[in-house]
């Protein structure tokens, strides 16, 4: 076993030659001292991105609430023979040259379980090759524009989604709850203003894209996504027409959202509801539970075209 320098992926693991990965993983089960909990593996999870973003990802995989995966962490680099470490069910390849990415994934994925790629950054064109090896691509780029631009083509070949989309799930559910009220649905055609505030302008735009595609908006709906640096990714959403409004507002310092409805024929006292656990591990767990195409996401990305 090698020493564990700080900053190394899987610092608790052991360094092994690439050819000995399966042997080392097998020893985990045989060696009493290293025996891993008997989780049922449900997928191969390939995580790609910069070294720093993979360290965060490794922690999320470790904390996955109720799903076992074989995690393959591959950081971007220039090595043809990167350092390989294994720990429990996880494998880390540090600094692999991008053009060998597909070969590594092809060699290490479990043939009998789905392969899910968690894309945390890199050259977007690499996604084209990975789409053929993956049953699902989960985007998680810091600047998602280039990846979302390829989304439609990638969706023809495999299922796609985005961690940002998972982060919006409860915000979407809260807006959908408003539309369970018949008065809201009746007035919805008059809603012509959407304002979203938060630190993540891309998340705001994606939310707007979802509303635009779901409500079949025409270009005369004014969408205003405003950045509020330093805060939560989404802090406030208001949909309405000036007089009527559906409002979702993050309660400062909490993970709760205050909801309020003001439409003709229906005024409801505001409520405070939990936004749920928004940790990366929980969002990843949500993504790993889904295996089918997420048409709502695909339509939301398509709906971005109409969002300023």
């Amino acid at each position: 076993m090698s020493s564990s320098p700080p900053g190394m992926l899987l610092p608790l693991g052991v360094e092994v030659p690439f050819s000995d990965i399966e042997l080392a993983l097998g020893r985990n089960g045989a060696d009493e001292r290293r025996r891993v909990p008997g989780r049922a593996l449900t997928a191969t999870l390939v995580v790609l991105g910069s070294h720093a973003r993979l360290a965060e990802a490794a922690e999320a995989v470790e904390q996955l609430p109720d799903i076992g995966v074989r995690a393959i962490l591959i950081s971007n680099g220039t090595n043809t023979a990167p350092t390989v470490r294994v720990h429990e069910y996880s494998i880390a390849l540090d600094g692999l040259r991008p053009d060998y990415l597909n070969n590594a994934v092809a060699a290490l994925r479990l043939s009998s379980l789905p392969t899910v790629v968690w894309w945390r950054g890199g050259a977007p064109e690499m996604l084209d090759g990975l789409a053929d090896l993956a049953d699902r691509l989960i985007f998680d780029a810091e600047e998602p524009g280039a990846v979302w631009a390829r989304a439609a083509a990638l969706a023809e070949r495999t299922a796609i989604s985005d961690i940002r989309w998972a982060r919006l799930t409860r915000w979407r559910a809260l807006m959908a709850h408003f539309f369970d009220i018949p008065d809201v649905r009746r007035e919805a055609t008059s809603f012509n203003r959407l304002r979203i505030e938060g630190a993540d302008v891309d998340a705001g735009r994606l939310y707007a894209g979802w509303l635009a595609s779901s409500l079949r908006w025409t270009p005369d709906v004014a969408v205003d996504v405003r950045i509020r640096p330093g805060g939560a990714s989404i802090e406030r959403i208001e949909l309405g027409d000036g007089e009527q409004a559906l409002t979702l507002q993050l309660v400062p310092g909490t993970s709760c959202v205050e909801t309020a409805v003001r439409v003709k024929g229906h005024v409801e006292a505001s409520r405070v509801v939990s936004l749920g656990d928004q940790r990366l591990a929980v969002l990843l767990g949500e993504e790993l539970r889904i295996r089918s195409r997420d048409l709502a996401f695909e339509h939301a990305v398509a709906g971005l075209q109409g969002v300023a």
Binding site: P37, P65, I67, A176, F179, L211
Partner: protein, 500 residues
Amino acid sequence: MPVNPLQDGLRLEPTPGPATLVIFGASGDLTRRKLLPALYRLSRDQRLPARFSVIGVAREEFGDDGFRQQFRDSLREFAGLAGDDDVARSLRERMHYIGGDFKDPALFGRLAASIQASDGAAGVLFYLAIPPGAYPNVIEQLGAAGLSTASGAGWRRIIIEKPFGTNLQTARELNGLVHRHFDEEQVFRIDHYLGKETVQNLMVFRFANGMFEPVWNRRYIDHVQITAAETVGVERRAAYYEGAGALRDMVQNHLMQLLSLIAMEPPIAFTAESVRDRKMDALLSVQPLEPQDVVRAQYEAGWVMGAAVPGYRAEPGVDPGSRTETFVGLRMQLDSWRWAGVPFYLRTGKRLPKRTTEIAIQFRRPPLQIFKRVSQSSVAPNLLIINVQPDEGISVRFDAKLPGTRMQLAPVMMNFRYGSAFGGSVPEAYETLLLDALLGEPTLFARHDFVEASWALIAPVHARWEADTSAAVPVYEAGEWGGMEADALMTRDGRRWRTL
């Protein structure tokens, strides 16, 4: 905009619409131990609607504050919640209480007003967590107060706890009474076994995996054993248990449900009616139980889980001359194309050596024992074990070659355990079932005809036992597996109970 377009593709699991849960028996054991903790967990996991309230109804007059305090105590004792949290606080504020006599129409008038004023008046779920003797009165009163029917888009549903009747006749009478006030789709007869993860997984295991169904029949299966063993005695339930016994308490409901899930044909779809129709078919295929197919016994003083325990007749509240059975073993034959000639052995009892519920499916041995000459150890038949509780999971036993130069065989197990396989916590059965009832999903609840058919199956056994008061009820020592009669039921067929 007639439908909500924003619900399309939402990933969250379905959440019920606005609802009020009315618990009759709000001060009782079931409410404290199971229902209130289940509500807390559902709320914590955001499975309850935003507009949701609880109205507790019981004889005691302890008001909203008393009910809320009980909720707090219940979470501390049965949900491991040491302090208070936002979820508990928020739910507690939506809890109300009405005290009074269930026979008093005024109580139901107050209940109607409280429902009207509550947040979730659109949907109302009544939960009868009360002694079965009080069911008819409450159901009648609900009907008389107009609470069994909803106006507009609202709904009214009722959950009825077991035992549903005490025999075939009372079950029919109760069904008749219920149907005078509620349509069958409003009625949720709860059997908490059906809410257990492994029991639900039985259908997934059988019908989502192509490899098991081809061998799930008389050609490959030798026999099936279903065991529901308890270490506890009659505890504080003597008054009920004396009139019930193991056959009514466990076989008529829990074990019949497990048997039907194992024996049923594949449904054409995973819909409530399709699944329940196929379960019903399986139950109807069970042949009448002959005297030699049933054994009973009663526990004597003994030693269980490290402590000396009294015999059944010495338990508080039990008649010293009681003939109530605390153990029952059955041999059932299903007259169907799939199961003809495959016996199903069922056993259940109190004060048995360990608490466990399992279904063991023993496969036939290979037609030719080719290792007989070279291996000193005999070949064990393959076994599929479905652990229902306490350690939910599935195990498969098969033979493997022991490492070494000689050909030696030994049975090995492949284990799947819910607890460790997925890491997360397995929901309590009551969480699943409460949520299903709020969603109007009846698949995991017993239909009226199933209840009646299962009573019809055991009715002749009871009739024989009641007619024959001369023969002594066999006994077993507490801490043993049911006594000689139980063993004889199997050995007569050349088989043995599994030693659990």
